[in-house]
Symmetry: C2
Amino acid sequence: MQLYSYFRSSASYRVRIALNLKGLAFETVPVHLLRNGGEQLTPEYRKLNADGLVPVLTDEKGDGEPAVLAQSLAIIEYLEEKYPRPALLPDNPVDRAYVRSLALSIACDIHPLNNLRVLRYLVRNLKISEEDKNSWYRHWCEQGLAAMERNLASAGKSGLFCFGDIPGLADCCLVPQIANAQRLECDLSNMPTIMRINDACLALEAFATAAPARQPDAE
Amino acid sequence: MQLYSYFRSSASYRVRIALNLKGLAFETVPVHLLRNGGEQLTPEYRKLNADGLVPVLTDEKGDGEPAVLAQSLAIIEYLEEKYPRPALLPDNPVDRAYVRSLALSIACDIHPLNNLRVLRYLVRNLKISEEDKNSWYRHWCEQGLAAMERNLASAGKSGLFCFGDIPGLADCCLVPQIANAQRLECDLSNMPTIMRINDACLALEAFATAAPARQPDAE
């Protein structure tokens, strides 16, 4: 398998964790989002992924042609179906929906607003100040993570990790989002549950080796 | 089943289509996003969904307590697992990942940027003009749909619908996004594939009855 990714991309980070949790070996193909006007926007990369976004995972289908997969959550669902053990989702539909909703609350309600291309648009097109840009970033990140903290507390389903004592899909999304939040100095002081889970995750090799600083393209 | 939703919410619209495609009866519980400072933000609603977002679906688990499900894509995956026929996803993992990636490219890369709360932040906090707000909206919508058009064309997997000749998860996301795009007068003139699929969908009762104008809370 090959993972086209950028060390700091949190969507790439999610997939690295999932691959590691499942014990699947992969080769990193770095795609530098800032260099050369963005390597993800080259015609060559767009042949892999018309969206011009990382990550992309390639996997052998067995017929000689590799499968080319985009969108981090679709990639992780694919891994879950193709390589089911260890599972990243619980067994029953209601619990699976709960874990997916946690993952989506990060992937849809926080991360897209703080993506590089969005921050660029705010600065270049809307001419907002550096200070306003950082306030925007922190606003969505803090509001979204606070909602997740409330969700985790009220559902009463977390254990060592977001769902029980086995790391899974929601943890794959949470840890990269916390890394972003810390990099931008968000206020995480009133989020004991998610910070406890973050610490438990980072103590695992699967999460630690997926961290941006440990990637071959890290700067 | 009860669907807590707002007629114009495109995430709610996705779930309505999925429920209709599966022939599942549901009761609409209107949550007005604009009235009373936003009914989705009341303490009562937040007990259902800490995120303060629509939709929420409730379904009987069989033990007396209803399951309470949030996040449109997690809800649709739940419906797919609990009520598998007719299927909204293809059979094999690679095709399933492809269809999910189309759905996520709308749910993660377009819709969150044009959400009501985000547009409000742009106007109220960043003080951008009405014109800049509309340009922002059209930028993400047109860019995202153009990428989807390229994806559909290059994958060569569309038929009458996004994947083959049976409507599914990607169509559940596409049609509400096109409705939004048209409401905001986005330029969809160079998107023959997605517009053809949109027309085919809207000719089906399952999509037509899910439209915002057909909901009990429509204004």
